[in-house]
Amino acid sequence: MDVLSHSRHFAELPFSVSERVTPTSTDDLSSILADASGADRTVIPLGGGISAGTGLPVEGFDIGIDTTALSGILSWEPADLVLSVRAGTTCAEVQSALAASNQVIPVDVAYPERATIGGLISTGFAGPRRLRSGSFRDLLIGCEYVRGDGLVARAGGMVVKNVSGFEIPRFLHGSWGALAVLSSVNLKITPKPRSDGTLIVATESTAEAVASALKAVSSVSTLASCVVMSVDGTTTIAARALGRDRAVSETLAEAARILGAGEVIGGDESGAWWQAYLNQFGEVDAETLIAISVRPRQAVEVVTRLRDMAGLADSASFAIDPGVGSIRVRLSGPNHELVAAIVDLVQRHGATYVLERVATELVGTIPVWGDPPDGIDLMRAIKREFDPAGILNRGRLVI
């Protein structure tokens, strides 16, 4: 079987990779990293390749580690609601195995057939269910990882509550492969909700939609997700409830009193709506994709100003998760001035951003990772401990 069948072909990556390696065991992974450290060869770990286009411009890496052969469920005890899975396993593969016992990882992800569990964790992916049930960060209970210097270590365990030793699994979440490559992860899982329903409300003003979504999130605590999507000038609010039938329909009825009447879709159709929503804004081939994080209370103002920017209304699509302050902006072209204006707006509101996809010619002019975070010296000291030769993702990240 071609282990790269669901991963992005390296030829499509925005940088060159001199050698590609496909470890099949943790020991393999350890030797690759130890040797690379010894020889000062730079390394980029890759799962489904979905986020490979994010980061500072890098000409190339000496080694691309394809993690997708580190695949499969290592252990799963349905009665314990815990799972151990190798990091290169795709999300779809895990979810379909769990479905056999009516269990689920309660995170909806973009491109689940391609996205690997390790990649989702390393890039800090968080979907629309994080409003209530969190992201992978909240589900991680343990992991095995290989540091840049090849040291294999584990942290956490296979129990749902654990304060034995430092919280390294959660710390590696969102670290973008700066410190180590995950070889396996242990997750808390949950029972699959018995019923799934989504209220879809078409609306005029994006800013007003954000305001009412915030109100719905505050007053209907049983909503699982509530987002605003604006594509091609059409704005839609989607509110989702998960649980038992009656609770789902009553929750959506409560939401409709705030958001307005709309269409209610259920079951697979509801799941499909959210999948399409995620894919659209996780689009690998989008020309410009900006992830903005604001305080929820600033969401209305920031969205209003974004909307007001000349030209933005026509060319931009928005995916807004007001309850968690996430705004994703997709532009149809490499509009330098617009990107600069958006970044300026975000910074004036004390918010943060990442240019997830951006035209190459812009990369050198606008910091793709936003302003350097506080504590950057400390982060660099940690990087030196985990990856003393600095081979992992060299040049791509801020640390």
């Binding site: 009665a79 968080a126 129990v159 509550k161 430092f166 009656r246 943060t352 506080d374 030196r384 990240l397």
Partner: protein
């Protein structure tokens, strides 16, 4: 720097009322909530009670100049020795930094100082329909800063998670006296999630001086069920079947007969005195969801052999059922002068056999053990009853603890679910972690605190021979002499 100079400098920073140094004043700071004997006690050189981040930073800079360790302390309710200055040095007690600086009901966050008491935060935000979800048993006394250090849990973490799931960002004083804000780990962030590393680091990475925490909406419906069973075993099987059927209660707590014997006469919570064990099951969420879950849980409990069931829907009734659980530790005084509260975790499905093993261990060591614990999480809390005045009692509980920990690890469990490692369990770390695992953890410590200023001699096993870990200990040992001339 001699002792008097040090005290003078400290007074200059925090004022005369912010420094404790007389032996009689230091006595209480030799201890935390742990059992004397299971955890070493030690007097600090001085205790300081700062009111601001700047004062904390100045104390840390002074400690660095004097070459002394620094130990942060909240309410001192910890159960693993974390707040004890094991190698002497300066204790920074954060109890005077107790302001709730800001509550934002739209963002659903609160900015607090570390000395804020856990339950007081929930009290403050209740009028906004919110609460702070981590609820350790000590929540009437313990501080948010302590919760952050230990990554505290509580009965409701089955559904809501532990402290780390509710901390968004931290202000922290670093070993060189600089102040860092660990950023919110949200979208649009390219750095490392320092917040994740610091929560649960047992005060070894820095001194937390502010926390931005997440608040959770109070659910619209809450019901507590009490189910009585003939035996612990039957109750454990009910736990498994409740979860297996796809229910996720907010909490799922168990108490055994000995606990009921202590609790019921003291607090009249309505637990049947003849039950082998009782389960407290709290379901919350949408009223329709709760109503159906409760029916299902009742049926599952009856199938598992429940001898009686009660249900509490109003706040008053719920509080009464919870009272017995929350006051269980206090009630132990009716059974024995002392108890050693243990904290281990096993996979939920291994509960029945582990509880049977606990009983065997108790019998073998001629100990009475009461069980009151977070069954839904597999988080055991055997209370070993003893009398410190009786020669040999402390030794027997320590031997029993040793057997208990081994038993839990054997079935795939771990050392501590919510109390921390501290000095209590550092000797057991090699049972669950390899040399490489510990080396990597030591590397993280080294990056945060290269001079081993903060809370030395915790978490890592003593005498553990391994490059980085040994280096940590050598530095800690050097500091044990207290005041080293600059």
């Amino acid at each position: 720097m001699d002792r008097q100079q040090l005290l003078d400098e400290l007074e200059r920073i925090v004022g005369p009322d912010g420094v404790r140094h007389r032996p009689v004043d230091l006595l209480v700071y030799e201890y935390d909530g742990s059992v004397d004997g299971a955890v070493d006690t030690a007097p600090p050189t001085a205790v300081t009670l700062p009111r601001t981040t700047e004062q904390v930073a100045a104390i840390v800079r002074l400690a660095r100049k004097a070459g002394m360790p620094v130990v942060a302390r909240g309410a001192g309710t910890g159960l693993s020795g974390g707040a004890v200055a094991q190698t002497g040095g300066i204790i920074i007690a954060l109890t005077r930094m107790d302001r709730v600086i800001d509550v934002d009901p739209i963002d659903r966050t609160a900015l607090v100082e570390p000395g804020v008491i856990n339950l007081e935060l929930s009290d403050v935000v209740r009028s906004d329909g919110l609460f702070f979800a981590p609820d350790p048993s000590s929540q009437k006394a313990c501080t948010i800063g302590g919760n952050v250090a230990e990554n505290s849990g509580g009965p409701h973490c089955l559904k809501y998670g532990v402290t780390t799931n509710h901390v968004l960002a931290l202000e922290m004083v670093m070993p060189d006296g600089s102040v860092v804000w660990t950023s919110c780990a949200r979208d649009g962030y390219g750095g490392l999630d320092l917040t994740a590393a610091v929560v649960g680091s047992e005060g070894m990475f820095g001194i937390v001086t502010k926390a931005l925490v997440r608040l959770t909406p109070i659910p619209p419906a809450i019901t507590v069920q009490l189910a009585a069973f003939g035996s612990i075993d039957a109750a454990s099987h009910a736990v498994t079947s409740i979860i297996a059927a796809g229910n996720l209660p907010a909490s799922l707590e168990m108490m055994d007969n000995l606990t009921i014997q202590a609790v019921e006469p003291a607090y009249h919570a309505g637990y049947p005195m003849d039950a082998g064990a009782v389960l407290l099951v709290e379901s919350d969420g949408h009223p329709a969801e709760v109503a159906e879950s409760v029916e299902e849980i009742e049926a599952l409990c009856r199938d598992a052999g429940a001898t009686s069931m009660r249900r509490a829907d109003t706040a008053g009734e719920r509080d009464l059922l919870w009272k017995g659980r929350k006051m269980a530790l206090a009630a132990m005084g009716r059974l024995a002068p002392n108890y050693y509260l243990h904290d281990t975790v096993v996979p939920r499905s291994r509960l029945p056999e582990t509880l049977a093993a606990v009983e065997d261990i108790a019998r073998h060591h001629r100990l009475q053990v009461a069980n009151v614990f977070h069954a839904g999480d597999g988080n055991l809390h055997p209370l070993m009853l003893f009398d410190r005045r009786k020669p040999g009692d402390v030794e027997r509980i320590l031997e029993a603890s040793h057997d208990l920990i081994h038993e839990c690890v054997k079935v795939g469990g771990t050392l501590s679910g919510e109390h921390g490692i501290g000095t209590e369990k550092r000797g057991y770390m090699t049972l669950v972690f390899s040399e490489s695992d510990l080396r990597a953890m030591a590397g993280l410590k080294q990056a945060f605190d290269p001079e081993i200023r903060f809370n030395p001699n915790k978490v890592f096993p003593t005498g553990y021979v391994c490059g980085e870990v040994r280096e940590l200990h050598i530095k800690a040992m050097e500091q044990q002499h207290g005041i080293v001339p600059v």
